[in-house]
């Protein structure tokens, strides 16, 4: 009513325009439950893995597969426009060159030294709120024109099944692509991050995967076995002993699936997986090892999970083995990245 209109005129500008970090859509306050040290909360249930419906251009997905990717989280990009990808390519190329030859100015648009391509990968986005994935490749220009340019770096920014409430709450001039995967030299990764930071006022932080996330991955991948051979389930633990004991635990895919299936069969819901089920699955695997080797795996930390579908390491490195269940993996990683978003 006019009461509040009057208020606008009278009162000083106030905190953050109606945003509050203790109310939705803040991810800080997303789901009830105990607050971890970083205020991170993970959902207690999620959908079971579903085979990916390939509508994406094959060659781009092929680029995502088989490479090792280093993960980072990214705060939302300000004024990123899909219509300007060409322009961004030229700018990033000029920027990298200018950084390389410190103190020598570079005209934007002059293609020398590096060629950069930005491309949108359509089809990976799942929900309406998800922004389309952006793929970046950097080629170094050969000394002699006859040689073909060599790809020296590649990376992509993505958002798959991001929290819709959070994404909707961002003003329209922001694009949230919270997950950044890079493959190439540290030097170029740092330059690309720095260029994004200057151009879209965003920040990159490294994304490590908690053992809870790795547990989820192990369970979700195992669940795929009937439709798609996962080949093996390999789990790597690091035990806090002197000297450190690394445990590599390879499980026959069928055995793993049997265990998983016996746990899921007890609960009704077909395509939902609860965190209790995941915990029971991991406990089952741990008990089995204990029976044979008398080692309590729960005392150590899960470092890496690997199947034919892909692998994920605690320090934030992943490999995508097959494009079939890529959505499941990216959904989980998007969620991890969004939870790191500071506000």
């Amino acid at each position: 009513g006019h009461g509040s209109a009057r208020q606008v005129a009278l009162s000083p500008r106030s905190r953050s325009y109606g945003r509050s970090c203790v109310e939705p859509p803040s991810l800080f306050w997303q789901t009830p439950g105990r607050l971890t040290a970083l205020g991170q909360r993970t959902p207690t249930a999620r959908g079971a893995a579903k085979a990916y419906n390939i509508t994406v251009r094959m060659y781009t997905v092929a680029l995502l597969v088989q490479n090792e990717w280093k993960l980072s989280y990214v705060t939302p990009l300000y004024r990123f426009q899909y219509t300007k990808l060409k322009l961004y390519s030229r700018h990033l190329a000029a920027f990298i060159l200018a950084e390389k030859q410190q103190g020598v100015a570079v005209e934007v648009g002059m293609e020398a030294g590096f060629r950069v391509t930005f491309s949108a990968v359509f089809g990976l986005a799942e929900k309406e709120e998800d922004a389309e994935t952006v793929f970046i490749q950097i080629y170094s220009k050969p000394m002699f024109a006859a040689d073909t340019p060599k790809m020296v770096w590649r990376g992509w920014l993505t958002c798959v099944n991001g929290d819709p409430e959070y994404l909707r709450s961002l003003p329209p001039d922001f694009v949230s692509l919270p997950l950044f995967c890079s493959n190439g030299s540290e030097y170029l990764t740092a330059r690309v991050k720095s260029w994004f930071g200057r151009t879209f006022d965003c920040s990159f932080g490294s994304l490590c995967l908690s053992s809870a996330t790795l547990n989820w991955l192990a369970a979700l991948w195992t669940g795929c076995h009937p439709t798609c051979d996962i080949g093996y389930l390999k789990l790597y633990w690091s035990m806090p002993t002197q000297p450190t004991l690394d445990v590599e635990y390879t499980v026959n895919p069928h055995d793993a699936w049997e265990l998983w299936n016996s746990i899921c069969a007890q609960d009704g819901a077909e395509d939902m997986v609860s965190v209790e089920e995941v915990q029971r699955f991991m406990a089952g695997l741990e008990t089995h090892l204990f029976r044979h080797f008398k080692i309590y795996l729960s005392a150590g930390s899960l470092v890496k999970v690997s199947t034919a579908l892909g692998s994920a390491h605690q320090d934030g490195k992943i490999k995508i083995g097959s494009s079939d269940y890529i959505t499941t993996l990216l959904t989980l990683l998007t969620e991890c990245a969004l939870l790191k978003t500071p506000v």
Partner: protein, 732 residues
């Protein structure tokens, strides 16, 4: 010599403050010129100038005595007093036209010391002589160096900027290039940065290699048009231009000192690009505030102002309608001019960008990175937090990102890392619903409180007091008139009901009550802790009268009695003040409650609590009835007898109270200096009591004075003759 120049420097500065430099100085220069002309009629200087202005092309110089005589005359005047503007014009024209030869040209340039200002037309004409291309190279360089030296004395630069293209064309002259770059650097405006010029500069760069003067100019071009050119300036090369003023420096400053002109040539013209002092780079520099730079989509229209171009609040006001935010909002942190602007425009995106960056930096530095005990990083971190604090104080509110950071950080904080900054930030936490505050704030804080030293406990109470004060202030400003709801933001989208707000306040006050009570017990009623506790209740007792919040919460007995029975007089006095203010608040609440229909209820329990405290205090201090039944603190009679304290009922009255014992003794000494045996009981007899109380209040116990005055009906400001045994009033 050094002393003298210092003195004159001071004088110049002060006079500069009094007069605005622009119009005043040019008026002054006109006046100076006028004076010179008047004198000139009888003045050999004017004759000399007249002579020189008439020197024709092809004049023989060698052996020309007349020319020599006049030149010497003008030179002497120039070096001692400086030259008036039209003389500068005239001589510059004579020199650059080479009418008197190239040797004379250099000679004139060397003594061309302006007394006040340099007319820009002279420079423009000089540039045209440069274009004619007859001057020898050394004269060209000398001329450009001279222009750079007197640049700040040029009265106006618009015509000079109009010939930017001509000046630019000299860049290709390899020997002039450094000077031309510097001059262009000083003249460049956004509209001068054009693609063809960028290309030309890059071409020159390819030819000449990495040169700092080219780099400076290109860096400036990048500031104006980042979409045309990009450049990374290595930090060790961020030094700016060289000074070229050596020829004139001494003479110019001498003349200026002499003329006491308001204009001060800036001998540090070269400080165009001020690189921040480069500190040793840390391994992970999350806390580095990004430099101000234009946004990628910078508007190349002339009218747009970038925040980094603004120098003053006036400039901000004049251009507030077309200001462009920088590429990275983090660069504005701690820049008050920019915060002014942000505060004014209410741009949600801008604030979010700042918050994303700030939240990211805090999170990476304090939550995700392994702590290194490095003292360097400690100071850097504390400086960063101090910048955030000052920005928040300036905006009078907390950043969303610091708030969410603090909630996360509290659960891992050891209570000592950057304690004062963290607690200061915590005191800025905005209002939130009571169930949240318990979980996010109180629980982690309580754990830290009970496991830390008494000094930490004091800091926590201080922090919570300051938090309460901010909330109350916010309430008193933002309470909506119609309802009693308050708006948590200016567009009224987030509101909190009054009862919601009161719940949170009650929650906070109760929480502090618990902390204080337990803390006092644990720390044996530490004086400092008691003092911080009382400071908190000084805020609490006045919530209704001072901040319009209809809420009265009494301190728990565990806080009240330690203060009443404290051994230091300051605490007892503060308690007196607090009880006095409680009474004021309750009285007002009762009066309003009777007057208005829609009244709020202060619960009966609150009145009862107040009365109980009041009775206890009055009977203890005034009526000498401590520990007796019906006085609030009751102690079993048998135990009192067992304790064998004589007259125990009076051991906490104003005479025997350990806090005032010293004063009683002093008073006794003054009244009965001859007495050998001290008998404090005699103070309580008749007029001595009144005198004693008056003496006590004259020692500065104002709180107690107010308390006694209002609760016993006694006035001690003027000597009154009322009974010492008056009954306490003020029972509600």
């Amino acid at each position: 010599m050094a002393g003298a120049s210092n003195l004159s420097g001071l004088a110049l500065e002060t006079s500069g403050e009094l007069q605005s430099p622009g119009s005043a100085s040019s008026n002054r220069s006109l006046r100076v010129a006028e004076n010179v002309r008047k004198k000139g009629e009888r003045n050999p200087f004017q004759f000399a100038l007249n002579y020189l202005s008439q020197v024709q092309e092809g004049t023989v110089v060698r052996g020309n005595d007349a020319l020599e005589r006049n030149l010497v005359l003008v030179e002497t005047i120039a070096l001692s007093q400086g030259l008036p503007p039209e003389a500068v014009s005239l001589l510059l024209d004579l020199a650059l036209s080479l009418r008197a030869g190239s040797v004379t040209c250099s000679r004139i340039l060397k003594f061309l010391i302006p007394a006040s200002v340099v007319p820009q037309e002279a420079i423009v004409r000089g540039m045209s002589w440069l274009c004619v291309g007859k001057m020898p190279l050394n004269a060209q360089v000398l001329f450009l160096r001279w222009v750079l030296t007197v640049f700040d004395l040029i009265d106006c630069k618009d015509h000079l900027r109009a010939v930017y293209g001509f000046i630019f064309s000299f860049l290709t002259e390899e020997n002039l290039c450094p000077f031309i770059c510097h001059l262009l650097y000083l003249l460049t405006m956004r509209e001068h940065v054009q693609p063809f010029r960028v290309r030309k500069l890059l071409e020159i760069q390819t030819r000449m290699g990495k040169q700092s003067f080219l780099m400076q100019l290109l860096a400036l071009y990048k500031v104006f048009r980042p979409e045309l050119v990009t450049l990374s300036v290595p930090s060790r090369l961020r030094t700016g231009f060289k000074n070229h003023n050596s020829t004139w420096k001494a003479a110019l400053s001498a003349v200026q000192r002499k003329n006491r002109t308001q204009m001060m040539a800036d001998h540090s013209l070269s400080l165009g690009v001020k690189g921040k002092p480069v500190s040793r780079k840390r391994k992970l520099d999350h806390l580095e505030v990004p430099p101000l730079s234009s946004s990628f989509y910078t508007n190349s229209k002339k009218t747009v102002f970038q925040l980094q171009e603004l120098r003053s609040f006036t400039e901000l006001l004049q251009n507030i309608h077309n200001i462009e935010l920088p590429a990275q909002m983090g660069s504005l942190l701690g820049c008050s001019l920019a915060l002014h602007y942000l505060d004014c425009v209410q741009d949600e995106s801008a604030f979010l960008r700042l918050n994303f960056w700030l939240g990211y930096s805090l999170q990476e530095e304090f939550l995700l990175c392994p702590v290194d005990g490095d003292s360097d990083s400690q100071t850097e971190a504390s400086r960063f937090l101090a910048t955030i604090l000052s920005s928040q104080q300036f905006l009078q509110e907390s950043f969303l990102s610091t708030e969410s950071f603090l909630y996360k950080f509290l659960s891992v904080w050891d209570g000592s890392l950057l304690r004062s900054q963290v607690l200061d930030l915590l005191s800025h936490v905005p209002l939130m619903p009571s169930h949240h505050i318990r979980m996010l704030l109180f629980e982690p804080l309580m754990q830290l409180y009970f496991t830390s030293s008494v000094f930490f406990k004091c800091s926590v109470l201080e922090c919570l007091n300051s938090m309460l004060l901010k909330w109350l202030t916010w309430h008193s400003i933002n309470a909506l008139e119609n309802g009693l709801d308050i708006s948590l933001n200016s567009n009224g989208t987030v509101t909190m009901t009054l009862s919601g707000f009161m719940d949170t306040v009650i929650e906070l006050v109760r929480f502090v009550g618990r902390l204080a009570a337990e803390g006092l017990r644990l720390e044996n009623c530490h004086v400092l802790l008691l003092s911080h506790t009382l400071a908190f209740y000084e805020t609490v007792c006045d919530m209704f009268v001072k901040y319009g919040l209809p809420l009265v919460i009494m301190p728990p007995a565990d806080v009240f009695y330690p203060a009443l029975l404290a051994t230091d007089s300051v605490s007892v006095d503060r308690l007196g003040y607090i009880m006095y203010r409680y009474r004021k608040n309750l009285t007002l609440a009762k009066k309003q409650g009777q007057q208005r229909e829609q009244t709020f209820h202060i619960s009966r329990v609150t009145y009862q609590e107040f009365n109980k405290h009041l009775v206890a205090m009055v009977s203890c201090l005034w009526n000498s009835k401590s520990f007796l039944s019906g006085t609030g603190i009751e102690v079993d009679e048998r135990q009192l007898i067992q304790s064998k304290v004589p007259d125990h009922w009076s051991s906490f009255d104003l005479v025997h109270h350990p806090a005032f014992f010293k004063y009683a003794l002093e008073f006794h000494q003054k009244c009965w200096p001859e007495r050998k045996r001290v008998d404090l009981a005699s103070i309580k007899v008749g007029k001595y009591w009144n005198w004693y109380v008056e003496f006590l209040f004259s020692q500065g116990f104002d709180g107690l004075n107010d308390f006694i005055k209002v609760n016993t009906g006694q006035s001690y400001s003027s000597s009154s003759s009322s009974q010492g045994d008056s009954q306490p009033t003020g029972q509600h």
